[in-house]
Structure formats: C-alpha cells, structure tokens
C-alpha cells in the first residue's frame, strides 16, 4: 500500500472532514483509522441526531473489493445488536455494501453511507425508537431478503434464476428466458437491471453467492 492508495481512497479528505478519526500505526497489511466519529444526521421523517461514537475502521489492502471491518470501541453497542461473531459491526449485507462501494469507492462515502446510517440507527434504538431503515434477519435469510429487495423479486426460484443470470456473461444471459415469468428473453425484459448489477459487482460476486461462499 503506497501513497497512491491513500490518495485514491480519499483518506486525506476523510481525515479533514472527520478530524477526530486518525490514522493508526499499521501492524499488518490493513490500514487502521480510529478515533471519535462525530456526526449530525437526519433522514426523512426522523429527528436530527448529533452523536459521537468511538470506532476503529480496518481498511484491507484490496479495498474497495473487500469491505472494511468496523468496530465500536467504547462498548456502547451491545453484542445483541447487529454485530458479526468477531464483534465487528454488521453494517449491512455484503452485497448491499459492495453495491454502495461500487457506486462511490472513497472512504468518506463508506463512512457516510454505511457507517453513519448504522450508528444513527443505533442512536435511535438506544433512545427507545425503531430502526429507521429496517433490519435484516440474521444469517442466510437476511442475505436472501436483501437480495430480494435489490432485485425487486420475492419468489425464491425467481431470485435464484436471476442470480444465475448475473453469474453468466451478459451475451449468454440475454438470450435466455427471463425468470420473472413474462415469457420474454432476458434481453427484452429485465436486462437493464441485470446489466447494471453485473457491471457494478462483477459475475464472480454472483457465482460466489451461488456457491454459498458469501
């Protein structure tokens, strides 16, 4: 990881905008940014919340292909809230997070679109409210739910059909019948949606979903 990576990921902008997050000495290959994350955030129909969390973000060398791991370090968020077994925050389904990073890969957008919404949600829950953006079931069911909302299809078989198409080359997939049941070939039906997703995440992402490794 050289200067170019730090620049490409927009670390300097992140440090300037969130000055209480600071780069930490790296012991492994990950880059560690840790400290206080202060924000004022609001979403439609909800109150404005100003809060501060102590966090540590571990950015892997192959970011943004691999999603950073985030930890809340002041033990304010209990294990029972959305956390991975390792204690890292479970910010969202991997596919959703990948999609967000595919749209904007700077660390600022990771922090503002993935980390702050999670913490904002927890602040609301902590003061007795409900999660403003909903939540996924844990485990495989949650992944399926999120995929269903990304593809906007709820039937299991249809969903599986779409994921298979996403794991194929565009030219091949477009000639096949669309799993949505219209009877048209994909190229004349859901091709735009599929192409966008395939371009953003790559076929391999979807074949790994099929293999169950995500």
């Amino acid at each position: 990881m050289r200067a170019s990576a730090l620049q490409k990921w927009g670390i300097e902008e992140l440090l300037r905008k969130y000055p209480y997050l600071r780069l930490q000495p790296a012991k492994g290959h990950e880059m560690i940014i840790a400290g206080s994350l202060e924000f004022s955030a609001q979403t439609r129909g909800q109150e404005l919340i100003s809060d501060r969390y102590e966090i540590s973000i571990s950015v892997p060398p192959d970011y943004p292909r691999v999603i950073p791991l985030v930890r809340e370090t002041a033990m304010r968020i209990p294990r029972a809230f959305h956390k991975l077994d390792s204690g890292h925050l479970c910010l969202g389904s991997p596919t959703r997070l990948q999609l967000i990073l595919a749209e904007a890969s700077s660390l600022i957008s990771f922090v503002e679109r993935c980390v702050i919404p999670y913490l904002y949600g927890y602040s609301i829950v902590e003061s007795g409210g409900v999660l403003p953006f909903g939540e996924l079931s844990h485990g495989a069911r949650g992944l399926r739910e999120d995929l269903a909302s990304i593809i906007s299809m709820d039937d299991d078989l249809v969903l599986l059909g779409f994921v298979r198409l996403l794991a194929m080359k565009k030219r091949k997939a477009n000639k096949l019948p669309c799993p949505c049941g219209t009877g048209m070939r994909v190229g004349r039906c859901h091709n735009r949606k599929l192409n966008t997703l395939r371009e953003k995440l790559g076929r391999r992402w979807f074949s790994s979903l099929l293999r169950g490794s995500r």
Partner: protein
C-alpha cells in the same frame, strides 16, 4: 506570509518541545570528554589519532523532549580512527575500542553496563538528564571508495568524509579484509549544515552583534534555530506521538531529517515552512533503491528496511498523510473550541492558560459543541444484518 496567529501558535508549540540550551552544551562536553579520554597517553586507540565528531539531532539542533519523563535523550558520535582497513579485523577494532569505552564508563562511575550494538557501543549516563551515547568506531574510507562516491556526483568535500564501519552482522566481521560497510554520517551532517547555513545567517549576525559569540563561524548548528530545524522538531514530535505505542514501526528520524532538508525552500515563517516541507517530501523519495539516499553517499539508503518490511513504508505514508491533515487544520482549530484537545492529540502537549488565551480566537459564547460535526442527510441506507 501565513496567518500571523498560526505562526505564533506553532512557534509557541515548538518552544515547548525544545530542550534547554544547557542540554546541548552538556552534550558537547560529553563528546569532548570522551575525545580526551580516547587520546590520553594510556589509551589503546590513541595511536590511531581518534577524532570525535558529534552526530544526530544534538548536532543538527533538532532534539525534542522525550514523550515521558523516563524517556532518554539519544546522543550520537562518530569516532574516526586512522588506520588501513586491512590492519585489523572489524571485530578487533570494535573490541579494542570497546575496552576503552568500558574503561571510560568505569572511570566515570557509570552504573549501567556498556551495551554492544551491531555497529556502535552504547553508554548510559545517569545524572539528572538521562542520556545514552551511541559511539560509532570507524576508519576513514580509502581513496578508491571516495573516488567512487565522487563518481556518483557527490562533491569531494562531502565524499572525503566517508568512513568504513564495523558491523557484527557483516560476513567479513571476524576476518582481515578490505570489505567493510561504507557509511557517511559526517558527510550528511556537513550537507545538512551547508544547506541550512544561509537561512541561519540573519540570526547568526544577531547573535554576534549581541556579543554572545565572537564570529558567525563560532555559532554551533544547534543555535541556528532555522525554520527547517524547528520544522523537523515539530514533525519528529508528531511522529513520536502517533507511534508512541509502536515506536518500532515509526519512520526513523534520519528519513524525516533527510527529506525535510531536501524539501525546505527557505520559507521564513514556521507554518509556511513546515506545510511546504510536508507537501514536497514525497517527491524526494525515489521509486527504486536507494529510496532515501544519503546525499553524501547515494549508495547508503536510509530507507533500506522498507524493502524487507513493507509495513515500514506504509507507516511512513500514514504518518505523512496524518501530519498533512493535521497541519491543514491548524488555522481552523484556532477558531474552534477544540484547540487544546487537538493539540494534545497531535503533539501530546497541554496548552497553558496563557497559550489558550492568546491563541483561541472564538469567545466562549460563540462556540458550539457540535460545530465541527458534519451534517449528513441519509437517503436510503443498508439494513443492518448479522451472521447466525
């Protein structure tokens, strides 16, 4: 010219990192005393005309206070002996020199044992200021090596200061051999002083006019206090704080000093100087080896460890990025309410009430706690998940 208040503020920060001038004088005394010892009649190395040259931050005037009270000051010198490399092995020279240093320690009632390092001997002084002195025995380099260094474009007056050093890890360490490691710490120091002197001239003249010194040549480098030297002090402190838990991962002072000296363009105020230095530093790191060459011997790479341990390079860049971001924030900090917190974070210094009064611009009533927190409008967000 940068914002006057930022300049005054940084000057005041660096003043509090600085060490009393008496420490520099004390360091100079120690080098002198060691030199006299090595040259006394009974000394086993006197025949080689030992010549002691101070080195390191005490020579350059870039010492900063250690982070904590137990911290030691590092004092360095080079002791050049006049003999051909093939007259004795590296090991014999190191040992012979070590015996004299041990006798010196005993004669001066130093309690801690003498420590043998790969290249030098380390003496621990234990009076009110805790110093350790790394003293490096070496022999003047032979003409063919000096000619080769000149061939790489180094001026003769720097190249001729090159020395051959002993290193316990060297394959020829116990053998009679002309194959020794070459190094040029004295050349680097000379280069540093040549680059810095012209910027120091106004102050040198003042000191002479005030009759503190009889001529500008008599003013020791540590008295020059140029914006370059003060920038190096500030950057070293920033580095010390960032790596206080893992000092072994920190970029070494020689890399910071080398790059800063290349990068300094003579700016007269400290803020413009240090921000300019930090901005330009990366352009003096070479893509191939040597990454950060000694200007007085380009074959000597101050960043030689980067290739064995890529984390060290990564940590240099992390430090650099953080330093750049911190410096860029300073003008805003003076207008906000977080000045003392931030100064503690960056430099581990507690501002005095007087400093706060002088530098914190916004009146208490104007400050709001959430003033710095960015406002985010969240439109659509991932739903939190969790594995089973």
């Amino acid at each position: 010219m940068a914002n006057e208040l930022v300049v005054k503020f940084l000057d005041s920060i660096i003043d509090s990192l600085d060490i009393p001038e008496s420490y520099y004088r004390r360091a100079a005394d120690r080098h002198r005393s060691l030199g006299e010892w090595l040259c006394r009649r009974e000394s086993k190395v006197a025949v080689f005309q030992p010549h002691v040259t101070p080195q390191g931050s005490f020579r350059y005037g870039t010492v900063t206070r250690p982070l904590n009270a137990e911290g030691e000051y590092d004092l360095d010198n080079v002791v050049t002996l006049t003999l051909p490399k093939t007259q004795m092995t590296q090991k014999d020279l190191k040992t012979l020199f070590g015996e004299e240093i041990r006798a010196y320690a005993e004669a001066h009632q130093m309690l801690s044992p003498l420590e043998e390092m790969n290249r030098c001997w380390r003496l621990h002084y234990s009076d009110e200021i805790t110093f350790h002195l790394d003293t490096l025995p070496c022999v003047a380099e032979e003409e063919s090596v000096i000619a080769a260094i000149i061939g790489l474009g180094v001026p003769r007056e720097l190249a001729r200061l090159a020395v051959a050093i002993t290193d316990k890890r060297h394959p020829h360490y116990p053998l009679i051999s002309a194959n020794w490691l070459s190094s040029n710490p004295r050349g680097f120091a000379r280069w540093f002083e040549e680059r810095t002197r012209s910027y120091a001239l106004p102050r040198l003249r003042q000191l002479v006019e005030a009759r503190l010194f009889s001529s500008v040549e008599d003013v020791p480098t540590y008295e020059w206090k140029t914006p370059l030297q003060r920038s190096i002090q500030l950057l070293k402190r920033h580095r010390d704080v960032m790596f206080q838990e893992n000092p072994e991962l920190a970029p070494i002072s020689m890399i910071l000093t080398n790059l800063a000296t290349h990068s300094y363009n003579g700016e007269s105020d400290i803020f413009t100087a240090v921000t300019g230095i930090v901005d330009r530093m990366p352009s003096f790191i070479r893509a191939g080896r040597p990454r950060v060459p000694n200007p007085a011997d380009p074959a000597e790479d101050y960043a030689d460890k980067w290739s064995e341990d890529p984390q060290l390079e990564q940590n240099f860049w992390s430090w650099h990025m953080q330093a750049k971001a911190d410096l860029a924030r300073l003008p805003d900090l003076l207008r906000g309410d977080r000045l003392s917190t931030s100064v503690r974070q960056m430099f581990r210094l507690d501002l005095t009430q007087e400093q706060l009064r002088q530098f914190q611009l916004a009146p208490i009533s104007m400050r709001s706690v959430s003033h710095a927190a960015p406002a985010i409008a969240i439109t659509g967000a991932p739903k939190p998940w969790g594995n089973e």
